[in-house]
Amino acid sequence: MTSASIKLESVTKSFDGKVVAVDGVTLEIKAGEFFSLLGPSGCGKTTSLRMIAGFESPDSGRVHVGGQDITDVPVHHRDMGMVFQSYALFPHRTVAENVAFGLRMRGVSRSEIDRRVAAALAQVALTGFEHRRPAQLSGGQQQRVALARAIVIEPRVLLCDEPLGALDRKLRQQMQFELKELQQRLGVTLVFVTHDQEEALAMSDRIAVMNRGKVEQVGSPTEIYERPRTRFVADFIGEINLLDDGSKPRALRPEKIRLVPTAQARLAGTVETANFLGGATLYRVSAGGRTYLARETHSGERSPRAAGDAVGLAWNDTDIVTLES
């Protein structure tokens, strides 16, 4: 399967001439990359994806795939795979007919279709479900059919619009592994839209964090998490302590704060609440007139602190990230 790079060049899109959904977005997605568009609802991530797919055309800016300008190429000539949150399976067709659809549109021969449909269903572990109807499948199975239908045409690019959003937590996690594994096996460029930061961190090679139609930061999951560039990114990804004591806002992750005896502490404070998370405990500690979040991984030796306990806070200055104001 040949994969293609994607380039968005100062792409802007507004709806009804007033709401700017995507505002001058420039992105370069490498061939074979698992790339996530992450942000809250209304940040422009889905509109960006829909412009890559061709469902929306940008007001200005260009879209390139594999080095070619495809801004004016209609959807059905773009050769992409797409998976929708609602699965969007054809309810009047069987699983096999759903998967065969893209091949049929391409005029592939009957025998070739049968062979490739069987192979695609095997890829998503749905062999034996050929003659079922979508309504007879579970949510996870429907999602797999949608995936098989998208990859069977061997697209250069696979677009996923919150594909796991409708699944329950356990199944979602399993599908995350499967999707990532499938993407690596096929080597396809995958653009993944999600509002779930954990999902983006877990699966992506790189992430673009979007807010109000603009890209706030692009980087690997580690970069995004460890070195957030803006206040929005720091706040949107995981928990964060925002320290507004200087000229520029600074941020410190809860796990970088150590709970120590008050004698060795930078700050002395009192535990407000302790949230047991299983492998760790998240504390809210009031100290120096404000509240700090501190996460402590359980080592097994120390018993967790309770609300009202006096604790000291300590951290290394190198762990503090200075944000753009």
Binding site: A53, H77, F84, A88, L89, R149, A150, I153
Partner: protein
Amino acid sequence: MSAAVNKKPFDLGRTAYLGLNLVLLAFLLVPIAIVLVFALNPTPYISFPPVGVSLRWFVKFFEGGDFMRALWLSLWVAACVLVLSVVIGGACALALARGNLPGRAFLTAFFMSPLMLPAILTGLALFQAYLLAGIGRPVWGLIMAHTLVAVPYVLRTTLAVLHNFDRRIEEAASVLGASPTRVFFEVTLPLIRPGVFAGGVFAFIVSFDQFPVSLFLVVPKGETLPVVLFNYMKFDLDGAIAAASMVSILLALAVVVALERLIGLKAYVKL
């Protein structure tokens, strides 16, 4: 076992619910039963209680040249109306639900308006319009008039299906390489078909049963069945009328059953 059933506490709500439904069903079905009794009663006038069972009125109906000519005309007109209103109403619903038309609410109300007007006014108005236009009263004029009244039924059922339509399904088809035309025939049409044809059944029945509009637009010796029955009743009130009614009811039923078998209206009912 019956003891166990008897032990069940008396549920007033449920009994009242069942009772109400029985009354409603009776209200709908008893007139049909009465028509059947009259159709089978051999006395030369409509009377109760019946004195026997005979098919003489059915024979009279099927041997009456006027009846038969009217029956075939009505069937022919209804079939044309079915096809026309399905095409027009379906296309209309698609345009209203999908198109970016200005004044959509107004247009919807406009196309539904034949339902608000008393049919007798529609008939009278069309009669005068045809007269002014010098058209006269050809069969196609009658078909057009019936179609006008039938289109809202198709429009309404199709709009209902389109309202619940997940457009991502069409997008999925187009991203898989289907041109807009293919998307329509491969995805849109098969998915809205139950709604369109449910409307088509109504359209057929509305036309087949149509009296007030037809009254103004038929010519002597070219009347539809309801008009012939009405004229017949003015002079004779015998079992032939009841027999004709039974035939009408059975024909309408046959159309519904045939469409259900062919297209599966059940799928529509589920939506």
